[in-house]
């Protein structure tokens, strides 16, 4: 019995290992991670961990790995998969056999090179170590420039601003969160940043940097200059696919898997941020960077490694916290032709409908968790294929929950 091997001890990998045992699997389970320490949650790294200096919380359930007889080996980097022998090779040269293999290798932050600026002055955030570096660098009153106004960039901007830094956000697109959320939501988030004293400059790109007596100066393409003590890049992430690629598996912006999260080799599965999968609900293929999706896929991959044929076909869900604002989004904004806005008590919900008047996504933002319940209802409407009319969605005298009951 060679058992099941999991590469990557993040959200997807840990969940897969736990699920295998919950399902009664008795064979050997080995969870390999190249980071040190216990498996931890990444979302707090840009939020609470920066604000109060707390350690990243451990992934829930990961405290029980040993008790469940799951062999967790940290600090172990897999350097190759030998599919013919059904073995993986560690950096140490050790070879480990597998019957089934799960790739849960996640993604890494895309790095940025700025001419005239040393690489160590341009930080990114993906790991516990990255968060620690940012925390050690940040001092109140510093000028920091955040390049990229995606979720991680904006969360970092919010946290650093709260810590008393002078923050400028540069975004090359026309507006923040351009591909992620509707303009009617993005404008509320941009307004909050401005209110808090963060300067957001859209359609702005850095050409090069020069050093000054007190730090650096960034020269923008439009000729303007901005002072920066250091720079953060939040320009997206790249899936960790090299192992899969070198082993000859199909890779295309993510490790290509089928509905059951199986790669082009039936013994090998992939889940989480590293995987690109078909999503029938939207008749498309996607790679997501979503905490919940990683966990759910880890679970499904585990079931399928044990012989099930469970498919992942639900509306993706995501959240972001900035200052006291909570944002949640469910679904994919594909083929959107109509937006319905529902405002209440300082919160906003936006429903996105396609040309067939079908609800495809919903996004909300408001203080704390005020939009959570309605986003959960939207999630159920989408997953159950219920399509309330734009009029019903807009009418605040109709409770959204009543739409669920038909």
């Amino acid at each position: 019995m060679y058992g099941i091997l999991i590469i990557g001890a993040g959200e997807a990998g840990v969940q897969a290992a736990l699920t295998l045992r919950q399902q009664g699997y008795q064979g050997q389970i080995t969870l390999l991670g190249d980071e040190s320490g216990r498996p931890y949650e990444r979302p707090p790294l840009s939020k609470q961990c920066l604000l109060d200096g707390s350690d990243a919380p451990l992934i829930s359930g990961s405290q029980q790995l040993e008790a469940l007889n799951i062999q967790y080996r940290n600090g172990q980097r897999v350097v190759a998969i030998h599919r013919n022998q059904q073995q993986v090779e560690l950096a140490s040269g050790e070879q480990l056999p597998y019957e089934r293999l799960l790739l849960a290798t996640g993604a890494q932050a895309r790095t940025l090179t700025i001419e005239g600026m040393p690489a160590e002055q341009v930080l990114t955030l993906r790991s516990r170590g990255d968060a620690e570096r940012i925390r050690q660098r940040a001092r109140p009153g510093q000028n920091v420039v955040m390049i990229g106004a995606g979720f991680i960039g904006l969360e970092l901007a919010a946290s650093l601003r709260t810590l008393g830094l002078e923050v400028t956000v540069l975004e090359s697109a026309e507006r923040i969160l351009q591909r992620a959320v509707p303009a009617s939501i993005a404008s509320l988030i941009a307004a909050e940043h401005q209110q808090q004293g963060v300067e957001i400059r859209c359609q702005s790109s850095v050409e090069y940097a020069s050093s000054t007596d007190y730090g650096y100066q960034l020269h923008l393409l439009n000729g303007e200059r901005i002072n920066a003590d250091w720079v953060l890049a939040g320009i997206g992430s790249v899936p960790n696919t090299h192992l899969a690629q070198d082993a000859g598996l199909n890779v295309d912006n993510g490790i290509q898997v089928d509905h059951c999260l199986r790669t082009s080799d039936p013994m090998i599965f992939a889940a989480g941020d590293c995987a690109r999968f078909p999503l029938d609900l939207y008749n498309t293929e996607v790679r997501l960077e979503s905490w919940r999706c990683a966990r759910e896929q880890g679970e499904i991959a585990a079931l399928n490694m044990l012989g099930a044929n469970t498919i992942y076909n639900v509306a993706p869900w995501f959240w972001s916290d900035q200052y006291q604002l909570g944002l949640q989004m469910v679904g994919l904004p594909i083929g959107v032709t109509q937006e319905v806005i529902r405002d209440f008590n300082g919160s906003r919900l936006v429903f996105l409908l396609n040309a067939h008047q079908q609800l495809v996504a919903a996004c909300g933002v408001g203080p704390g968790n005020t939009v959570a319940r309605d986003i959960k209802i939207a999630e159920r409407l989408i997953n159950q294929g219920l399509h309330p009319s734009a009029e019903q969605l807009a009418d605040t005298s109709i409770s959204l929950k009543s739409l669920l009951k038909g």
């Binding site: 969940q15 919380p57 905490w291 966990r295 959240w319 968790n369 959570a372 319940r373 959960k376 159920r380």
Partner: protein
């Protein structure tokens, strides 16, 4: 020892819904299930310290507003990742249209 305190009138919570109740620096989530019975759990999720009263009640389940951890609010049982620790539950009773909670 029983220590019953008045929470609110039954009408203040919709069927299949939840409300926050604070008393003496403690916080609870009070649920009215679809058939009208009333239940109480500690107010905060066991994953992070997030109040459950902003969550969604469907049948016997409360879903946490933050990361969708699910609990059976009648038994307090955590339904799986990201929540593994159960919720504490508290006795309730309804009398003359008023909800009472035993906080001992």
């Amino acid at each position: 020892m029983a220590n019953w305190i008045e929470v609110c009138s039954l009408d203040e919570i919709d069927p299949e819904d939840v409300m926050r109740f604070d008393h003496n620096q403690h916080s609870w989530a009070i649920y009215r299930c679809p058939n009208g019975e009333v239940y109480a759990t500690s107010g905060h999720c066991t994953h992070e310290r997030i109040h459950l009263a902003d969550g969604l009640v469907m049948d016997d389940i409360i879903e946490c507003p933050k990361h969708n951890g699910r609990f059976n609010y009648k038994t307090g049982k955590a339904q799986g990742a990201p929540v593994c620790e159960h919720l504490k539950t508290w006795p309730t009773r309804v009398e003359n249209g008023l909800i009472f909670l035993n906080v001992e």
